[in-house]
């Protein structure tokens, strides 16, 4: 099955969603900052909002086609939707929530379907409970089960796991993957979490200002951003201004000089010319910290600096290292203690060539 979307929808005088893509069976991650049009896209597919122009079709069956005056009502679309706030019916038990869309079945058939999906999602023991009396992760599973049990042709998920801890997220992602191995329907999964994108996505569609800004595998879109705004979205903490000083085509690398610091970094060779002003995107977790000048490393970039600030945030310690410009580095609390990292201490940063992503700075 495949979902074909080409629509325009004007949300305000200054914002128009204008996207065209085909989602094959499997999970397509819809990634983007808030206000980029992700939720609107899902609402258009579900029929909760009408587009101004264009067509949405599942395997050639039009759900909406503005030119042909087709607009199938949401109940007839066979599009499952898991809302960000879940929208479980508070007055119904988990079982009645899951069975809500199955009223055409006989009571016995409905019961069988509810039990089967509850088993596979590990919620069989709480079928008699109302949403208010179960945990967040359990509610999430009920919400997923309620949408999946109706056997939709397309599944839409609007940040369904954003409120959960990582462990619960991983388990639900595994359940969802297992479910779709058998069904093979197109799933549009809205998130702004890279973890979820990498764990679930076969493909990432990056929305920016209502347009598809990038489209490819999670690695291609999120790990090798081509554009500064993409890098920012993809969670690159460091975006450093730089100028290309040398291209070494035979080595497949180039050298860039950071603006405001007399520091050269080696990066993968990209289609920039010497003298181009670019930015270098580096993840804070991809930078190593050494308290002595390291030797004999394969990593090409070793830069001296001073710890300017240090703060703990949950399981990570954020270091701000001054190398002429501030650079954010994440280390573990244990590393901080073992190396006796503290403000004012001189350190060396070690960065692999392929952890430095040159992006155009426009």
């Amino acid at each position: 099955m495949s979902l074909d979307v080409r629509v325009r929808s004007r949300l305000s005088p200054r914002f128009t969603l204008d996207v065209a893509f085909t989602a094959a069976a499997g999970t397509t991650i819809v990634f983007g900052a808030s206000g980029s049009g992700k939720t609107t896209l899902l609402r258009l597919v579900a029929g909760l909002r009408a587009p101004d122009e264009g067509r949405i079709a599942i395997d050639g069956r039009a759900l909406v086609d503005v030119d042909a005056h087709i607009d199938v009502a949401p109940p007839q679309r066979r599009v499952g939707f898991v809302f960000q706030q879940l929208a479980l019916f508070p007055h119904l038990t988990a079982a009645d929530n899951i069975g809500y869309g199955l009223s055409r079945l006989t009571a016995a058939a409905r019961q069988a379907r509810i039990s089967a999906i509850a088993q596979s999602f590990g919620i069989a023991h709480l079928l008699g409970n109302r949403p208010a009396s179960i945990s967040g992760g359990e509610r999430q599973r009920v919400g997923l089960a309620r949408a999946l049990v109706t056997d939709p042709d397309v599944l839409l998920l609007d940040e369904p796991l954003s409120a959960l801890d990582h462990e619960t997220q991983s388990r639900i992602i595994a359940d969802l993957r297992a479910w779709n191995e058998q069904r093979r329907i197109p799933i549009l999964y809205v998130t702004h979490s890279q973890r979820e994108a990498f764990a679930l996505g076969e493909r990432v569609l990056l929305l920016r200002d209502g347009m598809v800004a990038a489209d490819g595998t999670p690695e291609a879109v999120l790990n090798a951003p081509s554009h500064e705004s993409v890098a920012r979205l993809a969670g690159f903490e460091n975006l450093l201004d730089a100028v290309v000083v040398e291209r070494r085509s035979n080595g497949g690398v180039m050298v860039v000089r950071l603006a405001g610091a007399a520091v050269d970094l080696e990066t993968p060779l990209m289609s920039f010319e010497s003298g181009d002003r670019i930015r270098v995107a580096i993840r804070a977790g991809d930078i190593l910290v050494a308290t002595e000048h390291p030797r004999g490393l394969s990593a090409r970039n070793v830069v001296a600096g001073t710890i300017a600030a240090l703060s703990r945030q949950g399981a990570i310690v954020r270091l701000e290292i001054d190398i002429g410009v501030p650079v954010e580095v994440h280390v573990t609390p244990t590393a901080t203690a073992t190396l006796d990292l503290q403000t004012g201490r001189e350190v060396w940063l070690v960065i692999k060539t392929h952890s430095c992503h040159p992006v155009s700075a426009v």
Binding site: P74, F83, R146, T150
Partner: protein
């Protein structure tokens, strides 16, 4: 105490409450969920009896129900007698007069329902009528009951419209508030006291049950 007047008032209030429940639900639904730009006009019409003097409403009702009006004539041909000064006229007038007391609490409780629940229902393949029965109604049952109780209480106590449209025919249009008025006119203060106290207690009990149902302060203020 004028038991026949009390019985008449209770019968009137029961009929009016039942009818208003049936027509109040769709009106409240439309007022809550419609995106029509003319919604404010209909909201104003529904709320009109709250501010209109009962005599004004009663006067227009009398004109509309009289033997020279199309409705009055149709009634005359159909039943063989006029509509004005009958129990049926009281019912029609009371329905209009109590409309906001039924519609507003119901609409207020509809408005508190998370719209996403209705969207979730639609994406699960369930149409609007079934969504109304399975989600909207169960989640606003307190407001619906409050609307019914308020309508009942308001109809029991109405006076001006009844006097205009129904007159004062014992056993036909003589309601409990008219009975009190008559007692006072006849200086029968003891009888007036008894009936008035009964109405007072009843009204308090009705309001207390509404507030207990809604569990929110001032939930039934007419224009809330």
């Amino acid at each position: 105490m004028d038991w026949s007047a009390i019985a008449l008032s209770v019968r009137l209030a029961a009929i009016v409450s039942a009818v208003l429940l049936v027509i109040g639900l769709p009106i409240a639904y439309w007022l809550t969920f419609s995106s029509s730009r003319w919604r404010f006009v209909f909201e104003s019409i529904v709320a009109l009896p709250l501010v209109l003097p009962p005599t004004v409403l009663g006067f227009y009702m009398l004109v509309a129900l009289g033997s020279r009006s199309p409705l009055g004539r149709a009634w005359q041909t159909w039943t063989g007698h006029g509509l004005a000064f009958t129990f049926e006229a009281l019912v029609i007038a009371s329905i209009l007069y109590s409309l906001p007391f039924a519609v507003q609490p119901i609409a207020a409780s509809f408005a508190q329902i998370d719209r996403t629940l209705l969207e979730a229902s639609a994406t699960l393949g369930v149409g609007r009528l079934r969504t109304f029965l399975r989600v909207v109604l169960p989640l606003s049952i307190e407001g619906v009951l409050a609307g019914a109780v308020l309508t009942f209480a308001h109809t029991i106590g109405e006076f001006g419209v009844v006097l205009m449209v129904g007159g004062n025919l014992p056993g036909v249009t003589r309601t409990v508030s008219i009975a009190i008025y008559d007692d006072v006119q006849a200086f029968d203060f003891a009888s007036a006291h008894r009936t008035a106290l009964l109405l007072l207690l009843f009204s308090f009990a009705a309001l207390a049950s509404v507030y207990a149902l809604m569990r929110k302060p001032w939930a039934v203020a007419p224009l809330s």
